[in-house]
């Protein structure tokens, strides 16, 4: 009986050791891609060019399949995501490259802007600030260019 108990305890120890090894490996693999959220509140084309350059450079340097990028904008920044935006050609380029462009719907309501006014293909966040908070809580890199 004593022997059986000892064997059971040992088996349990080995099983725990095995589980620990397994648990860390897949998690590390799933986390392999870089995840970056850019926070932009400026309605200034020069700032937007910097942000879009940053995003493109990161994709080129790390490989597009190795990085997930979101640009979240609220406040005056949403003007640059409008259909008539001066950086519209660059927005098209970013969308082609799978960069997520998010406009804050809270700001849109305040500014009386509708989706019909916005550049086609962009995405929306109910609250830009909340989306940024969530991304940081999920472990994304936060950048404020």
């Amino acid at each position: 009986m004593k022997q059986t108990l000892a064997v059971t305890a040992l088996l349990a120890a080995v099983a725990v050791a095995g589980l620990q090894g397994c648990a860390s490996t897949p998690a590390a693999k799933a986390d392999d891609r870089h995840r970056i959220v850019f926070h932009v509140t400026d309605g200034d084309p020069a700032k937007w060019n910097i942000v879009l350059n940053n995003a493109g450079n990161v994709q080129d340097a790390l490989g597009r399949d190795k990085v997930v990028i979101e640009i979240v904008t609220h406040g005056p920044g949403i003007n640059m995501l409008k259909a008539e935006s001066t950086v519209a050609p660059r927005l098209a380029q970013a969308l082609d490259r799978n960069v997520g462009l998010y406009a804050c719907e809270f700001t849109m309501r305040q500014a009386k802007v509708t989706k019909a006014d916005m550049y086609a293909g962009i995405a929306y966040a109910p609250s830009g600030v909340t989306r940024i908070i969530q991304r940081q809580e999920e472990g994304w890199t936060y950048l404020r260019p």
């Binding site: 022997q3 040992l10 088996l11 620990q20 870089h34 970056i36 940053n54 340097a61 950048l143 260019p145």
Partner: protein, 147 residues
């Protein structure tokens, strides 16, 4: 049966040993790390903005003690201008370097604006990409500061 038990015991001891080793290694890494690790991001080329960033970095270091603070300032885009030899912030940047603050230039920006390492203040470190440097630091647990 006895030999089976012995080998089982051996396997268990090896497994537990490897866990202990990992735990020790983690602890070791923790001990080598400064208590605070801060990465500052500066994209502006105006001396005032740099004054703020450098004041923040030096004051922080003074307040927590040099041994507990590892501080890095990454200059990207227009911010790179202030790391040039003729920069208006040159003396303050040299002061930061003398205080073991790591001042880092974005290689992507250098390439795009045709700036070489010879154009930069001595002691400035060049990395392939400033954004990636900041992303890597955040992944390693550094705190991101955007003055």
């Amino acid at each position: 049966m006895k030999s089976f038990l012995h080998s089982l015991l051996l396997v268990a001891m090896l497994a537990l040993g490897s866990i202990a080793q990992h735990a020790l290694a983690d602890q070791g890494a923790g001990n080598n790390k400064a208590k605070y690790q801060l990465v500052f991001h500066v994209s502006e080329n105006n001396p005032q903005q740099w004054q703020v960033a450098l004041n923040n970095a030096l004051a922080f270091q003074r307040n927590v003690g040099k041994d507990d603070a590892q501080v890095e300032i990454v200059a990207i885009g227009p911010g790179l201008d202030m790391l040039k030899i003729d920069s208006k912030a040159a003396s303050r940047i040299t002061q930061a370097l003398d205080n073991s603050i790591d001042v880092v230039a974005c290689g992507e920006t250098m390439r795009a604006t045709k700036v070489t390492a010879a154009d930069l203040i001595g002691g400035v470190r060049v990395v392939p990409g400033g954004i990636i440097e900041i992303a890597d630091r955040q992944r390693a647990g550094w705190v991101y500061i955007r003055p």
